[in-house]
Symmetry: C2
Subunit: 264 residues, 2 copies
């Protein structure tokens, strides 16, 4: 059977990599990924054929994965975090869809057995490291306007801010995209207090993890890079200090129930 694994490797800590992801990588002879993700896997992948395509060649990476699998090589297409969230998985299905429409000229893709293996995404890693920021309704928005018109992104930021979602921004900046995060900040400030807690998480769960808890007002584009997850609290999100430890949480609304307990 021809096999393509579409594999998530989680936020970075090998102990947050699902056994199913590890089994898929072990089973594969060919790995397709952006180099950084392959490095994170360490020694386990030395005897595999590695296809390291640079950033920007996402379509080529997905197409190569399908071609390798179709040629009979058990293949793993790999992304960090959850490969289903703003990552490579959807490209595999876009290409299959195009092939079905006769636009890709690759009917042999249709015999491939495809298994998508989910993983822990950056927004979840950030939430867990600072407490429980995703305890109530939340959304995730990519700030990259390379593939999505900025007007669409802006509409989503407005909607999410006005309806009080916790907001996780993926792809907040890049070397060329610098103004979008500041624009997003000012849209949110129209709806939310300047003191709203904001979490900046970089290299989450890795040895060089760097996490900052700031306020919405303090959010500056220079403190954020393309590997940073930016998480904006809702109007209910709280930043607390217990002993020497800072925590951020978004309550689900039990406070009323607790108060009733205390007073009755």
């Amino acid at each position: 059977m021809k096999q393509l694994y579409v594999v998530s490797t989680g936020p970075g800590d090998p102990n947050l990599l699902a056994p199913q992801a590890k089994m898929a990588i072990n089973d594969a002879t060919d790995l397709v990924a952006y180099g950084l993700y392959l490095e994170l896997l360490g020694d386990d992948i030395r005897n595999k054929t590695q296809h390291d395509l640079p950033l920007g060649q996402e379509i080529e990476r997905a197409r190569l994965s399908l071609n390798l699998a179709a040629s009979g090589k058990t293949t793993a297409l790999i992304s960090s975090g959850d490969i289903g969230i703003f990552a490579m998985a959807t490209l595999v299905f876009e290409l299959l869809d195009r092939a079905e429409q006769g636009l890709e000229n690759n009917p042999e893709w249709f015999d491939i057995d495809i298994q998508v293996i989910p993983g822990i995404s950056a927004m979840q890693a950030a939430a867990s490291r600072v407490g429980a920021t995703l305890g109530h309704d939340f959304c995730a928005i990519s700030l990259s306007d390379l593939l999505t018109p900025w007007e669409t992104i802006e509409t989503r930021i407005h909607a999410a801010a006005s309806a009080d979602f916790v907001i996780s921004f993926y792809n907040p900046v890049s070397k060329k995209r610098r103004w979008q995060l500041d624009k997003a900040k000012h849209i949110i400030l129209q709806h939310r207090d300047p003191n709203t807690p904001v979490v900046l998480g970089k290299n989450l769960t890795r040895a060089d993890e760097h996490i900052r808890i700031i306020t919405l007002e303090q959010l500056e584009v220079d403190d954020v890079d393309m590997l940073t997850l930016v998480q904006i609290g809702s109007s209910h999100t709280k930043h607390i200090k217990i002993g020497n430890h800072d925590w951020v949480y978004t309550p689900r609304g039990y406070q009323k129930k607790m108060t009733q307990e205390t007073t009755t």
Copy 2:
């Protein structure tokens, strides 16, 4: 050191349980959970003291976990999926916050070392099983109005639907809550095509997994129970058939780039 692990066990398949979660459960002497989640862990937990509190006693479960840990027992508070997403993690911090304010009378809680371990949530399991529904901007909304006013929930559904987010509904119905999902459906229909793909996922990644791909128009409350994840596609989400296999994906917007490739 006094230790409380706040542990996610993922959607159900033991191979989607992170090693870090397993290590925490192994390390604990006391496990606190709703019984169903403990059963999923199987034989590994036979020699642990199990504190199985029923649904509805969430505050008690969190308080018991903090008390056990404070008494010196290494404790794991456990939820399936991601314990940080609509689950128990945030209650631990709400209680700590109350204690800090003098409302809980438990200063010994402040010595506990707390580690939150994230996991794969139902929306991710659903996405991976049908393809890549979360490939672009998405949100998660709990339809439970036990702790959140329905007006707030409705505002969020309107916002998410109008701004074209993929929407995952958690807690879509319960034995007593029957009308919310239908109301949500009709709000979304104001903004989205009746043929929008909808994924219903029950017991995801488990032996008795049941997944249906329907349309928004076909969504009926009787097809959904409290263990079902309901995922509504965006206006771009596509349901495709490749061979005998159905897939659902939300494109990131590479289509334009692919078309340029083909025509140039």
